[in-house]
Amino acid sequence: MDDFSELEAELKQLRPAAASTDLMARFECKLAEGAATRSGGVLPRRRERRVNWFGLGLGLAATAAFVMLARVNVDKPVPQQPALAVAPSAAPRIESTLPRTLVPDGVTRVVYNTRDEGLVFPRSSAEPVRRVRSRSRETLQWKDPGSGASLRVSYPTEETELIPISGQ
């Protein structure tokens, strides 16, 4: 670059021609025009307030969609989760209280039919036997001493009895 220092100095002595006075006047005129429409051209430009109709419409549409979704959520029935939660807790309580509170209260056996079917000769016995068939109903009963509640189970039974006969 040292080789060019003399040349650079010569170039710097060569001055550009001055701008025309007309140009300066035009520029001043433009500044004045700008100042008339703006606040002096030195303050930060104030943004004009324009209604952005597209943005406004988009916003309203979004709001409407949000409200609709919110309504859908509100109109939903009460979640069934609590009922589901209650159901399992009730069952164990019954199961657990039954054996603790109910105590056997009695058993009854009512024979309502007895029939003598005569002599029979079973293979395993050398002597004949009398066969008597009886039908009955047995009832089992439990009672809760605290509350007085009772539980009764009744079922039919049939019994066959072989009675040896004497050779008298």
């Binding site: 670059m1 080789d3 060019f4 040349l7 650079e8 010569e10 170039l11 710097k12 002595q13 060569l14 001055r15 550009p16 021609a17 001055a18 701008a19 025309s20 007309d22 140009l23 300066m24 035009r26 520029f27 001043e28 433009k30 500044l31 700008g34 100042a35 703006r38 002096g40 051209g41 030195v42 303050l43 930060p44 430009r45």
Partner: protein, 165 residues
């Protein structure tokens, strides 16, 4: 200077910068009148956008883009723009210098014969005192490229002056 410049500040700035800016704009257009129009339009754009006065790189970039816009308007198409740029390079009048002596006139003529890309770097560097960083920002090139173009311009000028001397 700050961006909160008054009208008087802008006028002083314009008066100081205008000759160098016009010289720069002359790289793109044939007549002084067109160059002055470009500078005025660019400066007004610069002022309206409230750019800091001290941002010279942006100011020169604005002048350059305004000049290219003008070329596009005239030429209409990018291919023609390149042709017009080359044509302008050959046919524009020498940059207007205040050349008083014969040696200065020879120097001005030598500057005019430089390739356009070297000449615009030289104009920004010598007569507008932009740094290579600023020149690079204006032209969208690297600083090294700007510095190289500057050196090539000086070398070409030296050769030219010797051969014509």
């Amino acid at each position: 200077m700050e961006n909160v410049a008054t009208h008087e500040d802008w006028k002083v700035c314009f008066a100081e910068a205008a000759p160098g800016l016009i010289l720069f704009a002359r790289q793109f257009v044939r007549s002084v009148a067109d160059a002055e129009d470009i500078v005025q339009e660019a400066f007004v754009k610069f002022w309206r956008k409230q750019h800091p006065i001290a941002n010279r790189a942006l100011l020169f970039a604005t002048v350059r883009s305004t000049a290219l816009d003008l070329l596009r308007r005239d030429i209409r198409r990018a291919r023609r723009e390149a042709d017009a740029f080359a044509e302008a390079e050959q046919s524009i009048a020498p940059p207007e210098f205040d050349a008083r002596t014969e040696s200065q006139q020879a120097l001005a003529a030598a500057v005019d014969r430089l390739p356009a890309e070297q000449r615009e770097v030289l104009v920004m560097k010598i007569w507008n005192e932009l740094t290579f960083g600023e020149i690079a920002a204006v032209l969208g090139i690297s600083q090294n490229t700007a510095a190289s173009r500057y050196r090539y311009a000086l070398a070409a000028l030296k050769r030219n002056l010797i051969s014509h001397g």
